[in-house]
Symmetry: C2
Subunit: 210 residues, 2 copies
DNA sequence: GTCTATACTTGGATAGAC
DNA sequence: GTCTATCCAAGTATAGAC
C-alpha cells in the first residue's frame, strides 16, 4: 500500500509542491517526502519535469470533475456565486490552490513547461464558456467572458499565494454574494440596452481595425 | 558610459529577465549579457536576489510614474479605458510585461522574494483605489475594486506570458472599448438601485458567519 | 522494480591579485 | 572597483548491483 508505485510518487510530488513550492520540488525532496528512492522518479517518469506535469494533470482533472459537477445544474448568477465560493474554499483548504499557483508560476519561469500547462488550462476555459452561455444573459460575449474568468481566477490564485494574509479572494466572494442579488433585477435592463447587436461603433475615433 | 556601474548591472538584469526569463536570469547570464564580470553582481548587490529585486523596483517605479501621469486627469470610464489600453500596449512593447510576469512568478516560487514583491505591489493598489474613487460611481467599493483590478491585471500579465499567441488582453480591451459607452448611461440606474447601503442581507440562507 | 553510488553540470558566492 | 580563480552546494540523471 505504501509501495512506491507511480501513484505514490505523484502524491509525493503534489505534497511537495504544496509544502515546499515549485522551487523546492526537486527529485530529491520529493523522494525524501514520499520515502522512496530518488532514482524512481526517473524510472517512472523519465524526468522531474515529466513527474511534475503528471502531478498537475491529475490535480487538474480531479478538480475539473468537481467543478463540472457543482456547476452542472446552476441556472442563475445568484446560485452560481455561492457555488463558486464553496469550490474556492475547498481548493484553498485542500492545498489545490497552492499546487496550481506553484506550477503555473513554474510554467511562466520555465519555457519547457508552458505549452503543456496551457493545454491543461483549455478545458477550464471551455467549462467557463459553457457556463457563461447558460447562466449569463446573451449580450455577454461568452468567449471573452470565459477568458476573463479564467484569467481572473489565475490572478486570484497567485495573489493568494503571494499574500495569503490579505485574503482578497474571500473579500471578493463576500462582495459578490452581497452584490449579486442587487444586480440580478437589473440584467433585463442591461439586456434591453445592449441587446441590439448590429449597431455601428459608438466611438470610432480609436485605432482602426485590420 | 558603458562602465559597469550599478545601473549598467540593473539594465543587464532587466534585459536578461526579458529575454531569458527568471530561470535564465543567473548571475552568470546577466554578466555575460552586460559584458561585465560576474563577481560584480555580488560586489554591488550582495546577492543575485538583491539585484533582481533592485531591477524590479526600478521597473516598477518607472512604470508607476507613467501610469500616474496618464490617469491623473481621467474623470470617466469612457476616457479611462483607452488610456489603460494604451498603457498596456506600451508595457507589452517595452517588455515590461515580461519582466513583471517573470519576477512575480519567481516570487511565487521563491518565498525569499515574496515579501518584497508584495511591498512593491502596494503603491499600485493605492493608485487603483484612488482612481476607482474618482472615476467609478460611489456604490462601487473602492478597496475591493482596486484589489480586483490589480488581481486581474496580474492574471492578464501571466496569461500573456504563458500564451502570447492568444492575446486575450487585446481582446479584453477591444471588448471594453466596445462596451463602455453602452454601460455608461446605465450607471445612474445601478447607483439608484444599489445606493441604499444599510439594508439587511438578502439571502441569509448561506453558512453562518463566525 | 528498487537500491547505492556516482558522474556531470550549473550556479551562487568568496578570496585575493591587480 | 574590477578581474581570475576557485570553492562549494545542490540538483538531474544514469550505471549497475541486487
Amino acid at each position: 500500500m505504501t509501495k512506491p508505485t507511480a501513484q505514490t510518487i505523484v502524491d509525493a510530488a503534489l505534497e511537495t509542491l504544496r509544502e515546499e513550492g515549485f522551487a523546492g520540488a526537486t527529485s530529491r525532496a520529493i523522494a525524501r517526502r514520499g520515502e522512496f528512492n530518488q532514482a524512481l522518479v526517473f524510472y517512472y517518469f523519465g524526468s522531474l519535469e515529466g513527474l511534475l506535469l503528471a502531478a498537475l494533470e491529475q490535480a487538474s482533472e480531479e478538480r475539473l470533475a468537481r467543478y463540472r459537477a457543482a456547476v452542472a445544474d446552476v441556472q442563475s448568477i445568484d446560485s452560481l456565486i455561492p457555488v463558486m465560493a464553496d469550490l474556492w474554499e475547498q481548493d484553498k483548504a485542500s492545498g489545490h490552490v497552492r499546487v496550481i499557483s506553484q506550477m503555473i508560476a513554474g510554467a511562466v519561469n520555465r519555457p519547457e513547461l508552458t505549452q503543456r500547462v496551457v493545454d491543461l488550462m483549455q478545458p477550464w476555459v471551455e467549462l467557463a464558456e459553457e457556463t457563461v452561455r447558460r447562466v449569463l444573459p446573451p449580450f455577454v460575449p461568452p468567449r471573452e467572458a470565459a477568458d476573463a474568468i479564467v484569467t481572473f481566477y489565475l490572478g486570484v490564485n497567485l495573489m493568494t499565494n503571494l499574500d495569503p494574509e490579505t485574503a482578497r479572494a474571500d473579500a471578493f466572494f463576500a462582495k459578490a454574494r452581497e452584490l449579486a442579488p442587487l444586480l440580478t433585477p437589473l440584467l433585463p435592463l442591461l439586456s434591453a440596452s445592449a441587446g441590439s447587436p448590429g449597431r455601428p461603433a459608438t466611438s470610432p475615433d480609436q485605432a482602426s481595425a485590420t
